[in-house]
Amino acid sequence: MSVLDIVTFFVYLVGSITFILGLKFLSSPVSARRGNRLAATGMAIVVGWVFITEFLLRSGGLSTVWILAVGIPIGALVGAVGARRVPMTAMPQMVAIFNGAGGGAAALVAAAEFLRDAHTCPGGPTSHCVLVAIPLLPVTFMVATLLGAVIGSVSFTGSIIAFGKLQGIVSGRPVTYPGDKIVTGLVLAGILVLGVVLTLVTNSVPLFLLFVALALVLGVAAVMPIGGADMPVVVSLLNAYTGIAVAATGFVLNNYALLVAGTLVGASGTILTQLMCRAMNRSIFNVLFGAFGTAGGGAAAGPAGDQNVREINAEDAAVLMAYGKKVIIVPGYGMAVAQAQQAVRELMDLLIAKGVDVEFAIHPVAGRMPGHMNVLLAEANVPYDRLKEMDEINDDFQNASVALVIGANDVTNPAARTDTSSPIYGMPILNVDQAEHVIVLKRSMASGFAGIDNPLYADPKTTMLFGDAKKSVEALVTGVKAA
């Protein structure tokens, strides 16, 4: 072991420590930002050191340094501009796309390692070659390579579909067709069979390419049937997958930085996915294979539907709130889309000035990601102590004069408590219907992301204020000022 190798070892060790501490610090709001920057610093050190040792100090390293000179600026520009320009509401799909990039990179690394070492058939890739005794690559190397390639590929295309669903490019509804599960199952079986053949029978390049192609198809096939409301869980799971793919390439390259970082993310991502599922009271199996919201979804999108709802104008709604004792605001994705959080803060300030107690009820999966609402409201300077988590505030709704629902739907659906046939039955919801009055701000009667009706709207104490959430809240602000 040369001195350089020993230094490399310690650089990877320092990098790994910053990743662990970074994730640790990210679990508390006080230290989260420090944690992220610590991990970024560690990453920069590792990348810088690898650049020095592999390109500057290694003889012949400069011959391929142009790959970095071209690739890194392009990637850095795309990543930084994308991350800076994206509006807060689109954060979840941005995470999905970055995750897909990582998965794709892991698959490419695995493929490149395989192609370097695969023994190509001298007479061309035909079956008679299989019979010629060519030494196979070691089983452990092949298993790690194939795992990196398959998981990275699934994460790549799966993340792109998740991005499309969150962005509205791909239908947010579960996309299913008769026999889709059989097709997915066959693709999976094909991957397994090819994996065994590639490991034990032949290191054929064409078969490897077919193996990767099937994995890319599997990523699409696995995510398409999942409804848009479950995308946060899917992104989190794919994030863990990418971590595992990176760990697998760490085995392939015998590189501890990849191994440790990938494994950390794989494990923490899995736990995070479980925490999210628990917040919805559903199992990960149910999320992945439940094809949520297919039952009776078709008719729900028309305006007004067949539900009998009562409308309210902004002035009346403002008076109800201004003379109430306690108002609980329930934000959802509609608030995020309309960028209404500043107006909501203003409304809160005015109500508080009038002596009304205002609190926010944050459902764990409100918005498109856990914590989505907290981030947006914090951005608008709403103090933390007014943001209450579901368990904290659910018993308070019965004391509330008004529950103001801003663009939230499925997380307020009482069917989750009562209707055993509802696809969201059993999901913990906010007890909005126990408030004295319920005012729902909503763009139209279109159903929520889960694609199901909400009986809350037909409740006699519920009134609807239709329109863009921001305009509606601004109208409420004007109304409260006048009240």
Partner: protein, 106 residues
């Protein structure tokens, strides 16, 4: 021809396995108590950490020969850099929101 094979003798593999298992436990422990509001930034931060794959792509690039492997290395470097740079920047932007009230409940 068998270079990569020799970089993975049994001893190295077992050591890697040892590190893998320990790292999995650390990953599990580190995030098991996270307030809901930090789920998204944590996911995003973890997303940035697996951007370390760019190091893997750099190692491939360092020894890339032939047009196919060079293309794979180049794409790997681009995608890996997008992951790592975008991941950390977007996480930092999310966390910017939390800085004003350091006395918040955790």
């Amino acid at each position: 021809m068998n270079e990569a094979v020799q970089t993975l003798p049994t001893e190295a593999l077992l050591q890697a396995l040892f590190v893998f298992v320990l790292a999995a436990f650390v990953g599990y422990e580190v995030v098991s108590k996270v307030p809901t509001m930090l789920h998204t930034p944590l996911m995003s931060g973890a997303n940035a950490v697996h951007g370390v794959i760019v190091v893997g792509a750099m190692l491939v690039a360092a020894s890339a020969e032939g047009p196919l492997r060079i293309v794979l290395a180049l794409l790997g470097v681009i995608l890996g850099t997008i992951n790592v740079v975008g991941g950390f920047v977007v996480t930092d932007r999310m966390l910017e929101m939390f800085k004003r009230r350091p006395d918040a409940k955790s």
